[in-house]
């Protein structure tokens, strides 16, 4: 319940305060969000499976986001930024689908 409230508060704050991030960080935000979503789904799955640990969750969240952003940054530096970000999105998308499938199985037996 509290996580849902946090999500809603975040969305509302983003909608009403209209924060902006520095232009230099803008290319990494989408990838970071996808990585964060992956970490969230993984955490939810782990929670349903019973082996959720908040410390692991925080560490994996932060490291996922940072590594995704770093990959895109390196890709930008060596000229394959769009390809690398596509690859990262594909991998994270696969993981998200897998986690979603596990959650689905855990919750709905299907």
């Amino acid at each position: 319940m509290i996580p849902l409230i946090g999500l809603i508060v975040g969305i509302l704050l983003g909608l009403f305060l209209e924060p902006t991030i520095p232009l230099a960080l803008q290319p990494y935000l989408p990838i970071a969000i996808v990585a964060a979503m992956d970490a969230l789904f993984g955490a939810f799955r782990a929670y349903l499976d019973g082996n959720f640990t908040d410390r692991v969750f925080v560490v994996s969240f932060i490291s996922n986001v940072l590594i995704a952003a770093a990959i895109v940054y390196v890709g930008d530096q060596i000229g394959v930024g769009s390809q690398l970000s596509t690859g990262v999105v594909v991998v994270l998308g696969i993981r998200i689908f897998t986690n979603a499938a596990a959650i689905r199985r855990a919750l709905f037996h299907a």
Binding site: G6, G50, N51
Partner: protein, 330 residues
């Protein structure tokens, strides 16, 4: 730290996993997965293999393994579903009822994710007019812009040409007007329709015996013109022009039907030195007038500024017409 996890969840998970993977299931799965990679059975034991101060099985790693297993054989999802479900649901309800520290952290992280997501959506919406356009559309757009700019450049060139021609037209008109004005000046000086001034000489002829007649004055005018006289005036009243005539009437000298009184003053605009020389040369006007035949006196002074204010009123030509139309000023 023998048991790092709060509440007996991991043990329960391990329990249900081992419950879920009955020997029959395991056998089936082994049969299906002939290949050596089989990460799923190892999972429940991973926490036990770790040293106590290490964190138990990071979710991401677990999930990675799970995903590999899931991707490798999707049909297995039918098999290990029944036992964990009630547990998971119960845990979900329990979490809704009694939130803990983990939920707070999750809330914070979800807050961050929601904030970032909204920001990204906003950024994406702000400038997606061209970022989401396909390459063909962009190429077409660029083409359109290129042809448009070419068309506008042609228009600019046309307008520039028009402007130049108008400017040069105005210039030629101005030049023609200046030319015409110059001609008008020259011609009106010649025709005596405007006052004139300039360096020149003044000639005073004293003729006590009245023997200075038209011939003498005509000679004087001819001499002056020969010396480059531009404007000639007699007695401050008569402008000598191209059509002037000289005659000797019963009352004395006549120029253009006007009587010329004695003494006669002739003002001439031209080079003063040449004019005086022309008047004084041997056998010229001065010697003629001062000669024994006339016995008059001539006084000549060179002036820096001679003002001729008398005008000749031109009479329209009655018979003569220009033979060809005057050239159009260009």
């Amino acid at each position: 730290m023998p048991e790092p996890r709060p509440s007996g969840r991991p043990r329960r998970a391990a329990a249900h996993r081992s419950l879920g993977l009955s020997p029959r299931h395991r056998a089936q799965r082994r049969a299906q997965q002939a290949a050596a990679q089989e990460p799923e059975p190892l999972q429940p034991e991973t926490p036990q293999l770790q040293t106590p101060d290490q964190e138990p099985s990071a979710p991401a790693e677990n999930l990675q393994d799970g995903s590999v297993a899931e991707a490798s054989n999707p049909d297995r999802s039918q098999q290990d579903q029944s036992p964990p479900a009630p547990d998971a649901r119960r845990r979900l309800w329990h979490s809704l009822a009694s939130p803990g520290r983990g939920q707070l952290i999750a809330a914070v992280i979800l807050f961050v994710v929601g904030l970032g997501g909204v920001m990204q959506v906003r950024i994406n919406n702000a400038d997606d007019t061209y970022t989401n356009a396909r390459r063909e559309d962009l190429v077409q757009l660029l083409d359109g812009l290129g042809s448009e700019s070419r068309r506008l450049e042609g228009e600019i060139a046309d307008l520039e040409r028009t402007k130049t021609s108008l400017q040069s037209g105005a210039d030629t008109q101005r030049v023609a007007r200046e030319e015409a004005e110059k001609r008008v000046e020259v011609l009106s000086l010649l025709a005596g329709t405007v006052p004139a001034e300039g360096p020149g000489i003044r000639l005073r002829i004293a003729d006590p015996s009245g023997k200075v007649d038209a011939d003498v004055i005509l000679d004087a005018v001819e001499e002056m013109r020969d010396a480059g006289a531009e404007v000639i005036e007699v007695n401050n009243a008569i402008r000598v022009v191209a059509s002037s005539w000289f005659a000797t009437g019963p009352d004395g000298l006549l120029i253009d039907d006007s009587p010329v009184s004695n003494p006669i003053t002739i003002e001439v605009i031209g080079d003063p030195h040449s004019l005086e020389e022309a008047a004084r040369f041997r056998g010229g006007i001065v010697s003629e007038i001062t000669g024994p035949t006339i016995g008059g006196q001539v006084q000549i002074e060179q002036l820096d500024r001679v003002v001729v204010e008398s005008l000749h009123s031109p009479v329209p030509n009655q018979y003569a017409q220009p033979a060809s139309p005057p050239p159009t000023p260009r």
